[in-house]
Amino acid sequence: MSASESAVVKPSYAWLTVNRNCNFRCEWCYAQGAYFDKGQEMTLKKAVELTDMLLAVGITHLFVTGGEPTLWSPLLKFNSHCHDIGLDNTIVTNAMHFGKDEFWERYIESPNTYVGVSLKAGNPKQLYETVKIRRFDLVTKGVRRAMDHFKSGVGIVYNSHLADNLVDICRFSVEECHAHSIKIDFCSPVFVENQPLAQCVMEPYQLVSGIIRDYPEIVKLTTELSFIMSIPFCFWPKSFIEELEAEDRIESVCHMVKREGIVVTSDGSLCMCNELFDYSIGRYGVDFTDAETLIDLLNEPVVNGYYDQMSRYPSNRCQECSWYNKCGGGCPLLWSVFDPEQYVQPVEGR
């Protein structure tokens, strides 16, 4: 019996992808697969219906994401609805729109419960190279506002643009933007027209050596540091993983592998991961209409089979590894580009 067949699957959190429009153009973003289409915007009516349904399913937290959700016109009305029904929600944003006074003044009248800010650059040149935006002043102001208002931290996707600048962007986040914490994640492939694109994904061993080199400097900036370990543990020196664990600076295994979260996109498509919006497993109004039919869908044998396939050991050598329960084999999407047989080494055998 596989893991997914052993119990009724009932997600505990969800992402609502409310739009695809964005004011940034990150090369590693899945939204490029939707061409940042301004037309792909969830209606307020659909967002409210979906949210009420997700609450009935037992969701305890909702993430509002995009695209760039601060550009989603019904955002403030939607926040009021979440407030009225008592559902905490987090907006996931690059925060540039927060830098505009007129928007910020309206926004703080009806804010999300929390904010997650994704920081892309630590100086104007880097911002332009990374996301093709020149308004570094506006981004800085917006990020700082979010940090100060929500007492928040930043997330940084370590990618090829940041290979030699990670310490600088971390310093900028703490000293200029007042970030209370830093989380570092690793860029994974995006999928456009059934092909993986990995131009910003770093070669795993190059990534490991860059992080090992920069880690001592980053720790001097903040002790509230964490790595979202989407790279298998066996790629790292054992002592480094042990240190991160001892210092409480590591998180691992994504919601898809644990089957704890679901994603609903702007047209009501149900997806296993936000990067997989082209590979929907069902659609609101067609395959599910309410909490009961959504749970039924998530427990159908064919859907369980998809989750099983996505959660396979990258290599059978992982079965021998004493770290698998904590590591989970890393982000499954990595294996669209890299061959596990070339990389995976069970910890016991090293």
């Binding site: 893991a3 920081l119 997330g155 059934n194 396979r312 989970g328 294996w335």
Partner: protein, 46 residues
Amino acid sequence: MSKFIQMLKLQGDVPKKKPKGVAKKRERPGQFSRCECGHCRCVVNI
């Protein structure tokens, strides 16, 4: 979805048990957990 799965070079079996993963031990107000939207992988405080 089957088409996507074929793109992956996963070569192992399906585990009998889901991996538990590592979560932050010290949780306090203002400390942040991951947003796993797959978009930005930014942080959230839940």
